[in-house]
């Protein structure tokens, strides 16, 4: 293995690490240079992500992995191994796309608002890509800490007392969660004697009855740490406040951070506690199902109760997390396939929405929000003067923002005709036909509840977003149009364009997701391949 492409798996980690470190050596006043480095590295990351996904797309169920990479050239169960399969390749690509759009948005104004923005941004990418690519539990902890350390800095970017207060809570909660993560990892190592995820999957069914309680306690500790990151009710109380307080591009990037928790839950629960786990099979699935449904309900109520748009977006993140967790909790490959499609669409749409929030705030005149709230509270909408109703000229920027907002709202509320609807339809269809469309079979009770909740959460999002739209675009009669620069609206258009692309190409993308879900639910072939991963350089022979 001497080809550069064989090192493809580690490049998404090394490249941002090198770029972030390099940028630390330059003064913050050299912003243009740093921005050029940052954007070009992010573009290269997108290319790497596309290469990984294309490699993984050649994969058939139970067949070949995209790539494995034993770091430090240690044979697999002993050293750390990086694994790129369909899921991790897709997540790396999604991360780099969000990174590009958030970064472009930040270049307009936000990157000047505090020190070392560009370095922290690249370190966040190191942590995210590492967490998606690693095949080792303790290494996952290290990458979690890297991404959290960078996110602490980014959450405080721009400072101000609101951000510092929210940041304080965010850091305290996540430090406590890191302790839980360590306890869980230590317990699992103490019982199974391994930290490698594939090796763990082999050993879990072999654990004796006396040690099983300890193993499941360890898994529960780990799960709590992941679910806290994913924002499951009642662990997600910190999320809306933190995300609402963060600056717009940072919040747009954070849209994927809760998905890291979902990813870790999906990966470990299916690998180590899936159908092949013997007595521990489907451990924790009821928690995911019920907790996820509670999160959807909590998030949907929060969406309707939110008094400002940023908090509304934060609660939408909770709804998205809850949907994914409860879909994973159904334990059905078809539902998981739909959920993975939903994951991509909702992450893109919510990221775009976080960017739009700031533009919407700029559109609203200072008093307009207050006017909107009081008008609703007192039903006092009759004395609006009738002037200028006919022939009102809508400024071009306002029109673009309005169209973007309405597409975004339809995506988040999962209404037809866009990809959000297709994703929810795929999930509900698979839930109501657990054995596939060909064989009729009884529908389990949780499936009815979850279907109802999914439709209710979409309705709640629609109500809240339509209200926001009315308050922003109709109530506000701003004299001068909001100043919006092209570089600020371009990332939103990019993300929404991708969502529209996913709508058009829903067929092939869904096929990719379904294959991915099948592999995740039956990982035996994958496990064998990871355990027999070839070394990067063969030891002995011609090597010194």
């Amino acid at each position: 293995m001497t080809d550069l492409l064989d090192h493809l798996v580690i490049l998404p980690i090394l490249l941002p690490l090198a770029a972030g470190t390099l940028m630390l050596f330059f003064d913050d006043r050299l912003r243009t240079g740093k921005a050029i480095i940052n954007v070009s590295v992010t573009l290269v990351l997108i290319v790497l992500g596309v290469l990984l996904v294309l490699r993984a797309a050649g994969q058939v169920p139970g067949g070949e992995l995209a790539a494995t990479y034993p770091v430090g050239n240690w044979p697999v169960p002993f050293g750390i191994v990086l694994v790129a399969d369909r899921l991790s390749a897709m997540m790396v690509l999604l991360t780099s796309i969000l990174a590009l759009s958030s970064l472009l948005y930040a270049l307009a104004r936000w990157h000047t608002a505090g020190p070392s923005f560009h370095s922290l941004f690249q370190f966040l990418l190191v942590g995210l890509n590492g967490a998606f690519l690693t095949g080792d539990i303790f290494n996952l902890f290290v990458f979690f800490e890297v991404l959290l350390a960078a996110s602490y800095g980014l959450a405080l970017h721009g400072l101000g007392s609101v951000r510092i207060r929210a940041g304080l809570h965010y850091i305290a909660v996540n430090l406590a969660a890191s302790s839980l993560f360590l306890i869980g990892a230590a317990l699992i190592y103490g019982v199974t004697g391994t930290l490698n995820m594939a090796d763990l999957a082999v050993r879990v069914p072999l654990i004796g009855e006396t040690d099983r309680g300890l193993l499941e306690a360890g898994a529960a500790f780990l799960g709590t740490a992941f679910l806290l990151k994913a924002g499951m009710w009642p662990l997600g109380f910190w999320l809306p406040t933190t995300y609402a307080a963060a600056s717009a591009p940072v919040a747009a990037m954070f849209a994927i951070m809760s998905k890291v928790g979902v990813y870790a839950v999906l990966r470990l629960s299916m690998l180590a506690f899936g159908a092949g786990a013997g007595a521990s099979a489907w451990f924790g699935q009821p928690v995911l199902l019920i907790g996820g449904m509670a999160t959807i309900a909590f998030g949907a109520i929060g969406v309707m109760a939110a008094q400002n748009t940023a908090r509304l977006a934060g609660y939408s993140i909770l709804v998205s997390s809850g949907t994914l967790l409860s879909a994973i909790g159904m334990g059905n490959a078809g539902v998981t396939g739909g959920a993975l499609f939903y994951l991509v669409v909702s992450t893109l749409a919510l990221s775009a929405f976080f960017l739009l929030v700031e533009l919407l705030d700029r559109v609203r005149a200072e008093g307009a929000l207050l006017l909107g709230v009081t008008a609703e509270a007192y039903g006092d909408d009759e004395d609006e003067d009738q002037q200028a109703e006919v022939g009102l000229i809508i400024p071009r920027a306002l029109a673009v923002i309005g169209i973007c907002f309405s597409i975004c709202a339809l995506l988040i509320a999962s209404m037809p005709p866009f990809a959000g609807f297709l994703a929810k339809f795929a999930m509900i269809s698979a839930m109501l036909n657990p054995q596939g469309l060909a064989q009729p079979s009884p529908v389990p009770l949780p499936a009815w509840w979850l279907t109802g909740l999914l439709i209710f959460s979409g309705f709640a999002a629609l109500v809240a977003l339509v209200r926001t739209g009315i308050n922003t675009f109709w109530v506000t009669m701003s004299e001068s149009p909001a100043p919006v620069r092209a570089i600020e609206i371009a990332p939103v258009l990019l993300l929404l364009g991708l969502c529209l692309g996913l709508t058009v190409l829903a067929g092939p993308v869904m096929a990719y997701m379904q294959d991915m879900a099948t592999i995740i639910h039956a990982p035996a072939g994958q496990i064998e391949q990871i355990l027999n991963a070839p070394l990067v350089v063969e030891i002995g022979g011609d090597q010194p």
Binding site: F138, V142, E145, L148, A149, Y152, L156, L159, G160, S161, I164, R165, G167, L168, H169, I171, A172, L175, A176, S178, S179, L182, I183, A185, A186, L187, Y189, G190, L195
Partner: protein
């Protein structure tokens, strides 16, 4: 020895959890530190408690029974470094919050 270590971890953990719930930022940071000590000791315990056993294995054929498990020691080392860095970072935010809000309450205002 197992009992003493277990009680020690339990005391550290309960004190840490109690302090974590307190309303002052300084109490929170001490609570987090105690909690991380408890976790570090716990990771050690998961490698089984051994006296006078080296973690680094010599060359040649050796009996693994006379050595202690090196992996938890490596994990603890990593966890200590990361915990230390995070505590320092939290301390900075704590000072910033104290400076900006004028109070050391975690919510930034006295009730």
């Amino acid at each position: 020895m197992e009992l003493i270590v277990a009680i020690g971890i339990g005391v550290l953990c309960s004190c840490g959890t109690y302090l974590l719930m307190r309303p002052r930022t300084f109490q929170v940071i001490i609570g987090l530190s105690l909690l991380s000590y408890a976790v570090n000791l716990f990771i050690f315990g998961m490698g089984r408690l051994r006296m006078n056993a080296a973690p680094v294995i010599d060359h040649g054929t050796v009996d693994p029974a006379v050595y202690t498990d090196p992996v938890p020691q490596a994990l603890v080392l990593t966890a200590i470094v990361i915990g230390f860095a995070m505590t320092a970072l939290f301390l900075v935010v704590l000072l910033a919050a104290r400076g900006v809000t004028g109070t050391d309450h975690v919510d930034g205002r006295e009730r």
